[in-house]
Structure formats: C-alpha cells, structure tokens
C-alpha cells in the first residue's frame, strides 16, 4: 500500500521502519531533513512538504510531540489537507487533547472527505522497536478495519475504544494511571529509605503481592539502581498532564490526585530534569528535603 509517515523521532522512526519492512511504499517528511535519513537509507521516499506526503499516500501516519504540531502539519500551509485525495485516511498516533482530535477529524472530513483515526500508543521506545505497542483507537469502525493490518505491524494490543477522540481519552487515562503509580512507587521507596530499610529489598518483597505492578518493576527498578536515564522523558509526561488537567477543567471533573502528581512534575521541570526518566520523581521528593 502507498503510505506516508510524518514525525520520525524516538517513537516514529522504528514505527515507520516496521511499515517499510512489511513491504509498503513509504513517503516521509520531517521538519529537520536529517531525521529522514535512516528511512531514506532503508528505501523510503523523501518529499518536500506534508501536502506532498498526502499526494503520494492512501494512508498517512503522524507521530508528533504536541497538538499544535499535529494541527500545523494537518491544516497549516502545505499541510496534509492540501494534498489529500478524497477517501484517504489519516492515522494520528501522537498524544494530543481529545477535543483537538475531534476538531481535526471534523475539519478533514469537511475539507477533503478524509477520515481520521486517533490512535495513540503506550509502550515507549522499547515497544515501538519491538512492535509490541498498545494502540488505542478512536474513530469509525470501518476505517479502523481498513487500516487494521497496518496497525498490527506496529503493535500487539489494538483496541477500538469508541468514536473520534476516544483513543485520546484512553491515552489520557493511561498516563494518569502510569504517572500516579510512578509517584506512588517513588514515595514508597523514599519512605523505606528514610526508615532505614533498603529500597531494593522492599521493592522485591512487594513485587509478589497485591502492590505488584509493571511500574514497580520497571520504574521502581530504575529508582533502586538510581538510573534516571530516559526511558520516557519526564517532559513528555509533564506535557500529557496539561491534557489531563485541561480535560478535567473542560468537563468540570475533579481529579484531586492527578493534580498533585502534576505539581510534582512541575517541580521536576523547574529543577531542569525534564529530559530524564519520570523515575526522577524520586529525586523531587529528595529535593523537598534539601537533598539535590
């Protein structure tokens, strides 16, 4: 199939490579031409604008950092909308606000009869490389059926959550649970150290019981090893919490714990640790006691 891919960062690059290796014809564009090189080396075609990507592809994937980037690439000058043929599909795998996903879907349908799916992912760079991502999809079922074989190249779990924006709602919930769990693990290990008990032993003891979790395994492990190299950069979780708390505001829904987690992320950013792993939330607690 003729495909397009925009956004070739830590996540997008391995995902695009999987699609290429599955035998598809892939057109790519990136703001920084250098990011295209690994894909061009593997046989993709580089083009000059997002509109050119859309002209060459039946299905276009985007994997960008922020909502404004997706909006720009889609509806901006020389954006996808300027090149799409009617009946094409946009699959946005970025993490953006549900409301923006709904607006973009409406605009694309109105301007060029193009269907959109919001299909954010969980699983990080590791999951992207291993093609084991969890993919949460919002949009029409028949559109998902059209692109399902493509998504199955990228991930292991594929759930159609609901209509437009539903994938992004699921992703926001995913981030709430995950980062709140990281904060809880950080607090537990911080308490055990303060009580004079080795965090490694506590983590090991907990792993078998009701408090066992993937976050305790992975992020807890990093905390015990004091290995704060990302993983997922904390600044991205900080960005995602603007979406979570923004939705709480828009809907008039109280999220008392999430809002506290966000404050810890704010403090993490202020200390200049945004490029480190979110396990660094442990260091924010230590900093509250004056140990930076």
């Amino acid at each position: 199939m003729r495909l397009g891919f925009i956004g070739l960062g830590v996540m997008g690059r391995p995902m695009a490579l999987h699609l290429l290796r599955a035998g598809h014809d892939l057109a790519v564009w990136a703001r920084r031409p250098a990011s295209c090189q690994p894909l061009l080396d593997a046989g993709a075609t580089g083009v000059g604008t997002p509109a050119d990507v859309a002209r060459r592809a039946e299905v276009v994937f985007t994997m960008l950092t922020a909502g404004v980037d997706v909006q720009q690439v889609t509806l901006g000058p020389d954006g996808l909308a300027a090149g799409f043929a009617a009946g094409s599909v946009l699959v946005d795998m970025s993490t953006i606000a549900p409301q923006l996903a709904r607006t973009l879907a409406q605009e694309l349908l109105a301007r060029c009869t193009v269907e959109m799916l919001d299909a954010p992912v969980s699983g990080g760079a590791q999951g992207a490389i291993a093609a084991t991502l969890a993919i949460m999809v919002g949009g029409r079922a028949r559109v998902l059926e059209r692109v399902r074989p493509l998504l199955e190249v990228l991930g292991r779990t594929l759930v159609h959550v609901g209509d437009h924006g539903a994938g992004q709602v699921a992703k926001a919930c995913n981030q709430m649970l995950m980062v709140a769990a990281i904060q809880a693990v950080a607090e537990a290990l911080h308490l055990s150290r303060a009580a004079g008990v080795a965090p490694a032993g506590v983590r090991q003891a907990l792993a078998g019981g009701s408090a066992g979790s993937r976050v305790l395994d992975v992020m807890g492990g990093r905390m015990v090893d004091r290995d704060f190299v990302a993983g997922v950069e904390a600044r991205l979780h900080h960005k995602d919490y603007a979406i979570v708390i923004g939705e709480a505001h828009r809907l008039g829904v109280p999220l008392p714990v999430s809002t506290q987690v966000r404050q810890q992320l704010n403090a993490l950013m202020a200390m200049g640790w945004g490029q480190n792993d979110t396990a660094t939330l442990l260091r924010v607690l230590e900093a509250m006691e004056g140990a930076v």
């Binding site: 919490y241 603007a242 008039g252 999220l255 506290q260 966000r262 704010n266 950013m269």
Partner: protein, 292 residues
Amino acid sequence: MKIGFIGLGIMGRPMALNLLRAGHQLTVWARRAESMQPLLDAGASAAASPAALAEVADVVISMVADAPDVEQVMLGEQGVASAGRPGLIAVDMSTIRPAAARAMAAHLLARGIDFLDAPVSGGEVGAIAGTLSIMVGGGVAAFETVRPAFACMGHNIVHVGDSGAGQVAKAANQIVTGVGVLTVAEALNFAARSGVDPARVREALLGGFAYSKILENHGQRMLDRNFKPGFKSWMHQKDMNIVMQSAHELGLCLPVSAATAQMYNAMVGSGLGEEDSIAILKLLERLSGVDS
C-alpha cells in the same frame, strides 16, 4: 477624557457608569445591543464596532469574560487595532493569562497602540461603589495618563510592573481568595460536623490571627446560606485554570492551588457553576454525607 468602553456585564456596566458620572465623555460597544441601553440612558453614545469606538476615544477599556474575547475586540475584524490610531491607549480590565496579556501588548505596540493590563478585585459590590482594587501592568507613561480614569472606578490603584504584571498580581489574588474561600468553608463545616455552632466559631476567630476579610464576609454569607452571586463559581474555576496553566508554563509546584482548582471543577461539573463561589461549602457538605 474621551473613553471607549467594551463589555457591559455585571462588572463593566457599573464601572462604565462611574466613568460617565465623573464627567468623562463615554462611548460604548457591546456584542448584545440591549446591554448598552442603561449606559445610553445615562448619556453615553453607542459605537457600531470596537473599531468605530477606537476612532472617537483616547482610551479604550475592555471588560470581557476571557482571553479569546479580548483578542476578538482588540485584534479581530473591526477590532480596536484596525482603527489604526497611534497614540491610542488600550486598557484590558478582564482577567486573562499573563502570557496572553504580554502577547496582546506586543501585537498592539506593533501598531503604535499602548496597552495596559489592569484587572480588578472587589467584585460587583466594589464595581458599583467605585472601590475596586486595580492592578496595572504596562508602561508608566500610559499608566499616568489613564490614572484619573482608574480613580473613578477604584481606590487601591497599583502599578505592579511591565506588561502582564497586573495579571500576575490578579492570579496571585485569585490564589489567595480561591484557597481562602475553601479554607473558611472547611473550617465552618468542620465546626458544624463537630456539633459546634459555626456562627460562634466564626465570631471567635474574627479577633485572632485567622481573621480575614473572607472569614468576615464570605463566612457570614455561608452562615446565612446566601449563595447568590457575587462572584460566580465558574469564573473562579476559570481563574484557577489561569493559575494552573501559568504554573505549568513556569514549572511551579502549587499543591494547594491545584487541589482548590479541582474543587472548583467539581462545583461546575455538579451544577453549582452559576452560584457564588461560597457554594463550595455545599460540595464539602456533600462529601461529609450531608444533604444540602
């Protein structure tokens, strides 16, 4: 002074009337023509658009709900800026994000228009009595020019600093008042649930270090169960959102404000948005298992 006034709601109407009564030559514009009537009856002239208003005024004042409204009347089609009168001073007395105020100042300055952000505190009562606190950001010369007009609307008029500084002061004001109303409600609910007369507790506290205007005024209205606005909950929710967005941009940890913002979300979500912010007491009672 020839003054143009945009936005004639609960706050704007009495503020404009006070300018008129002080002898200023007033031209008004409002999206809904009927909101202009009380001002026209009192001797103001009507303009057909913000641009037309800017043609005949030395100072244009806006008092509207939120940043998009300010952008619309200042920079939109038929907006104040499109009149293109260098030397004009635009004053926004609405409560918007400091970053939005700074951007507005830059846009207007590029067209030779000085901009002051001058949000107020004191509510409808202060607007009617002409006793508002006015916190101003922007150039000193423009501030001195507009000061006599400010003096017709308020008592405590402070030039806080450069563009955006007025909005920073207002956000700080909303932190103190938003959190303050919640703590007074918590204290009075705590007294009542402990089987102690909250009216006597308030009276006892008024003489000590817990004294505040909020304990005195808002506390009394809580005891009277007078939830008529005043200052509507959804507006305080909007203002707490400004605070939390600014904290996100700055990487600032504001744990208590964050918790308070979530309480306001719950108020709006549960249908208390149109009541005074002291209806936060009802939310606490609900969480204490009390029907109210």
